[in-house]
């Protein structure tokens, strides 16, 4: 069974804006998927459905064996503990150090206190922030902040990593750094879904590309580019 599966998903926001139309998609465990498309195409909505920040208006969403569209609010934590989520704006707590930011997430899901330091260190080592554990977010560069947020998303050992425009606020070199980091995480077996506008990284990595336009999947290629064959010169 695919790790992530959407069947006939429609999402209409209150007010009538249609974000997704009849989207069906499956992602196997261990895949790396870029979701591309213009602003407003429904990329973020797609991710928000996966971590149950939104519920579909119609259709089914299955993630890690859970029927996400049917989860009761009390069950949502069960889903979220299998996911790590990374955002364009990092969402780090400004009054806590890098270490505390990662530890905070572990503590929030009930990790035994004795296990926390080891996990935080391992996650920070993976993203290359071992030297900056005591720094506050404001003392970090954008790339370092994003790496800290990736460490937080990974610390709990999730099966799936969702990244919503993780390079949106970063310069090209730093963007590349973050994407290769996500790629390495994927090599470990973590399924990674990334929404992005970053043509360069998509074209260099040549991973699976799902393109959305006006809420529909218009392209799904195994080793795709940012722009589809029709648009290619």
């Amino acid at each position: 069974m695919p790790l992530i599966q959407l069947e006939g998903v429609h999402k209409v926001y209150p007010g009538g804006r249609v974000a997704l139309r009849d989207v069906s998609l499956s992602v196997e465990e261990g895949e790396f998927v870029f979701v591309v498309g213009p602003t407003g195409a429904g990329k973020s909505t797609l991710l928000r459905l996966l971590y149950r920040e939104e519920v579909p208006t119609r259709g089914r969403v299955r993630v890690a064996g859970l029927e996400v569209h049917r989860l009761r609010p009390a069950q949502v934590p069960l889903l979220r503990r299998q996911l790590g989520v990374v955002f364009q704006d990092f969402k780090l707590l400004p009054d806590r150090t890098v270490y505390e930011n990662v530890a905070f997430a572990l503590r929030a899901v009930g990790t035994p206190p004795a296990w926390i330091p080891g996990r935080v260190r391992a996650a920070l080592e993976l993203v290359g922030l071992r030297e900056r554990t005591d720094a506050f977010p404001s003392q970090l560069s954008g790339g370092e902040q994003q790496r800290a947020s990736v460490a937080r998303a990974l610390a709990n050992g999730p099966r799936i990593l969702l990244a919503d425009e993780p390079t949106g606020n970063l310069d090209p070199d730093t963007s590349w750094e973050i994407v290769t980091l996500l790629s390495r995480i994927n090599l470990r077996g973590t399924t990674v879904v990334v929404t992005t506008h970053n043509k360069t990284v998509v074209d260099i990595l040549r991973r699976r590309v799902v393109e959305l336009q006006e809420g529909r999947v218009v392209r799904d290629e195994v080793q795709g580019r940012y722009a589809g064959p029709r648009a290619a010169p």
């Binding site: 609010p73 949502v76 503990r81 707590l93 009930g110 391992a122 993976l126």
Partner: protein
């Protein structure tokens, strides 16, 4: 990639040792979260002070309503305690007949106590009420009959008791001030109802005020809440520190309100009794402790409810 090898594996989650540790972690979490709540109270000093201030204002008013209510109830109870039905006994009854009448009256349903007032006593009371006139000499003879004074168990039952009293052998006539009693009873009902309602209303105001105050606290930390929810924290985990913080704010406000009322009430009673000695006010020793207990309970409750309502908005999404 040295770090990869050391990243915790998901397999840990299945290990029995890990599960046991996790169970312990849940227990330990409550301690941690309680500390977080207490720390939050001190860390957000200004915010806490503002919240405590507004809850304090609400509780001071609430305390005033409670004190007033208690005094009104005491007043009503005293007035009601004076309500009796008076049965006039036929002249020339033997002592045994009088006692039989008293026993019969005491056996009536809804009667709490019956006292036999001999005509001499009745005359003495009348003389006293008239300001020490020597009526016995003036009238030559005592014109008053022996009476039975019957106290109902419940003031509302006075009318039925009075009616039943008429059927007691030896009783010729019964009075209980029918109209004025009814009016008095509806007045005491009104006083109790209005006092109770205004206390409830002020309690509700206290909840609203503290909800607003605590919403600021929650709002200031919405980012933390958002991240906790995002990583899969259980609802109780998110809620607990805020409940602790709300409870603390409510209790601190209640302690201040208690101190204020504990100082103010005895002083106010002293002044009142100087001015109007006959005014029946509850003595401080009967008010202060119950009031402090009520304020602490109300403060704690209001803090908890306020915090729960404020966090709910964020959790319900």
């Amino acid at each position: 990639m040295q770090g990869l090898a050391r990243l915790p594996e998901r397999a840990h989650a299945a290990a029995p040792a890990y599960r046991a540790a996790r169970l312990w972690a849940v227990v330990a979490s409550y301690g941690y979260l309680t500390r977080e709540g207490a720390v939050g109270f001190w860390r957000n000093g200004l915010m806490s002070a503002a919240a405590v201030g507004s809850i304090l204002a609400a509780l001071l008013a609430f305390g005033g309503a409670v004190v007033t209510l208690w005094n009104l109830r005491e007043l009503a109870a005293r007035v009601e305690a004076q309500l009796v039905a008076v049965g006039y006994l036929r002249e020339g009854l033997s002592p045994a007949q009088r006692e039989a009448a008293q026993r019969a009256a005491a056996a009536l349903p809804g009667v709490r106590a019956v006292s036999l007032v001999p005509r001499e006593e009745a005359l003495r009371r009348l003389e006293e009420a008239l300001g020490g006139v020597d009526l016995a000499r003036a009238a030559q003879d005592n014109p008053l009959p022996d009476t039975l004074e019957v106290k109902p168990s419940k003031p509302q039952d006075l009318r039925q008791v009075a009616q039943a009293l008429r059927s007691v052998p030896g009783v010729t006539e019964v009075t209980y001030g029918a109209d004025s009693t009814e009016r008095l009873l509806s007045l005491t009902r009104l006083v109790r109802g209005a006092g109770g309602l205004s206390t409830l209303a002020l309690g509700a105001v206290a909840v609203v005020v503290s909800t607003n105050a605590l919403r600021m606290t929650v709002l200031a930390r919405r980012q933390e809440i958002e991240i906790m929810r995002l990583v899969g924290a259980a609802a109780w985990f998110v809620r607990w520190p805020f409940l602790v913080e709300g409870l603390l704010q409510g209790l601190v406000a209640a302690a201040c309100a208690s101190a204020a009322w504990a100082a103010f009430y005895p002083w106010a009673v002293g002044r009142l009794q100087q001015a109007w000695p006959f005014l029946p006010v509850l003595p401080p020793q009967r008010v202060v402790l119950p009031l402090v207990a009520s304020l602490l309970a109300a403060g704690g409750l209001v803090g908890l409810v306020g915090a729960a309502v404020s966090v709910r908005r964020f959790l319900a999404r």
